[in-house]
Amino acid sequence: MATHQSRSAARLMMAPAVVLLLGWMLVPLSMTLYFSFKKYLPLRGGDLGWVGLENYTRFVTSSAFWPSVQATLVIVGAVLVITIVLGILLAMLLDQPMWGQGIVRILVIAPFFVMPTVSALVWKNMFMDPVNGLFAHLWQFFGLAPIEWLSQASMTSIIMIVSWQWLPFATLILLTAIQSLDGEQMEAAEMDGAPALSKFFHLVLPHMARAITIVVLIQMIFLLSIFAEIFVTTQGSFGTRTLTYLIYQRVLESQNVGLGSAGGIFAVILANIIAIFLMRIVGKNLDA
């Protein structure tokens, strides 16, 4: 009942949450905006006054900016493609009745519970180490020279690590979608003479469109800001400096808060551009 009283009561009761959320979001954002217009070097004189748009122009014109945008997009794009494709395949596999289904499913989900820092360290030291890593041993077993993963194939390495972390999430969401597919529909297609691939493209994939959309949007939000995996492995060298990492370097390594803040605002803008772009491509699946 939306009477006048109940509406004002509702507003009153929602107020604390709204104020908290606004503060949570707006304070950091306005502080970032504030600093982005200042020359602020904590160890070299502190607040040196307003500089207008200088931080922005410096950030964009620095030679590191466009490569970092590109690195970000490559990582996000590659991880999305890998996790969706493998996620669909794994989900279809896990949907089959098999022995020990429960345990297998838990094992598949497990990587999601490993902290990014830990998983990056595990990959770096146990798999990708050019001397002691499992990959090095594997390569030697086949008589090949071990690859120095993090320097020779740095981008691939990071994409592998991040995909490994996010694959469980994609698999889980896509598995629930596959499980809700109507069995009689598949049988009808069977009787209609549809081969396996046609069934997949005409029935399974359209049925999963919404779940795929959700996976893409949620993963994108988190992937745009990956940090630990890069910090632990390449430290941003060998072309793996993402926008997030560049900002970190500007603020902490160069001790230039103003410049980093300007970069932060660019990151917000980039995230919004990608979000709008993706929403437009896949958004029609959400209201179907």
Binding site: E184, Q185, A188, A189, E190, M191, G193, P195, S198, H202
Partner: protein, 334 residues
């Protein structure tokens, strides 16, 4: 062509024998109805014919060619599912076209068949809609359309009308019967509703717990039920079954008399009892009669409006030539 022969077919799910050995022949062009209570194995049997379920033992022949291990798509049968099983992401046109596309039929022939099916089923105005935008009856028609365009040698229906409301059900029942008259294709129709079975079938197959109790035309089943189960299952209201002295008088363990074969009177008759509930349908009146000393309750169907009231004493006379007699095993004595 569409002759279907089952020989010694059985089906087990794990250790549970759902279909004990079963033989059945469905002739070309016949409208066969599988009827039986829920869970008796009708769907299982139909799905085995369709090829969606493996046989545990036995063989299936379609048009005298062994089809036991033929995949569903190659059997030339089309199935209409209880849930319709339409493809929700495709338009009605694409749904109907799907089996033709899968058969790589040329586009002109596809369009011709779709147009013919759509006009026969009154779907022409809905071809570009999605199934989600259609009513239950329209979805049912799309499902039938998808089956028709394949021009199968037999249609399989699994309780296709059970999700429709009563009025629509009667209408669709007629349409399916007309479709059978027109196409003259074999149809196998599964239902738990004996009225559907009686009104539609050329041949009724009565099933109970996977066993065929009787096969015959609707009137054969009505006039000469082979056993007590068929006697009680076919006909509405149900046949009255009476055991005890009344049956012994006629050299039977149980006798059966249909409600419409009992004459009522207020003055005298063979049996007497008290009127319980009276259901006035206008064309007929159903009386539930108690205290007859024959059975818990006797149902009587009197034509037209007969004015007995609750609690009145009523006299009943069964028509002697309409009494069915059954032995101790429940089998018909003739």
């Amino acid at each position: 062509m569409g002759k279907i022969q089952l020989k010694q077919v059985t089906k087990k799910f794990g250790d549970v024998q759902v279909i004990p050995p079963l033989d059945l022949t469905i002739e070309d062009g016949e409208f066969a109805v599988f009827v039986g209570p829920s869970g008796c194995g009708k769907s299982t049997l139909l799905r085995m014919i369709a090829g969606l379920e493996d046989l545990t033992t036995g063989t299936i022949a379609i048009d005298d060619a062994d089809a036991t291990d033929t995949p569903p798509a190659k059997r030339g049968l089309a199935m209409v599912f209880q849930s319709y099983a339409l493809y929700p992401h495709m338009s009605v046109r694409k749904n109907i076209a799907f089996p033709l596309r899968m058969a790589k039929m040329d586009k002109a022939e596809q369009d011709r068949r779709i147009a013919a099916a759509a006009s026969a089923l009154n779907l022409t105005d809905y071809l570009d809609r999605r199934p989600g935008q259609l009513s239950g009856g329209q979805r049912q028609r799309v499902a039938i359309g998808r089956a028709i365009v394949r021009e199968p040698s037999a249609f399989l229906f699994d309780e296709p009308l059970s999700n429709l409301d009563a009025a629509l059900r009667v209408g669709m029942r007629l349409e399916i019967c007309e479709m059978h008259e027109r196409l003259k294709t074999t149809m196998i129709y599964v239902t738990h509703d004996q009225v559907e079975a009686m009104t539609m079938a050329d041949k009724i197959v009565v099933l109970q717990a996977g066993v065929i109790e009787q096969v015959g035309s609707p009137l054969e089943l009505y006039h000469a039920p082979r056993n007590l189960f068929v006697a009680g299952f076919i006909g509405s209201p149900k046949m009255n079954l009476i055991s005890g002295p009344e049956a012994a008088k006629r050299d039977a363990v149980t006798i059966g008399i249909r409600p419409e074969h009992i004459d009522v009177s207020d003055s005298g008759g063979m049996w007497q009892g008290k009127v319980g509930v009276a259901e006035h349908l206008g064309s007929d009146t159903f009386f539930h009669i108690h205290d007859t000393g024959l059975a818990e309750m006797i149902t009587v169907r009197a034509p037209g409006e007969v004015s007995f009231r609750h609690g009145d004493t009523i006299h009943l006379t069964p028509r002697a030539d309409q009494i069915h007699r059954f032995d101790a095993e429940g089998l018909r004595l003739s």
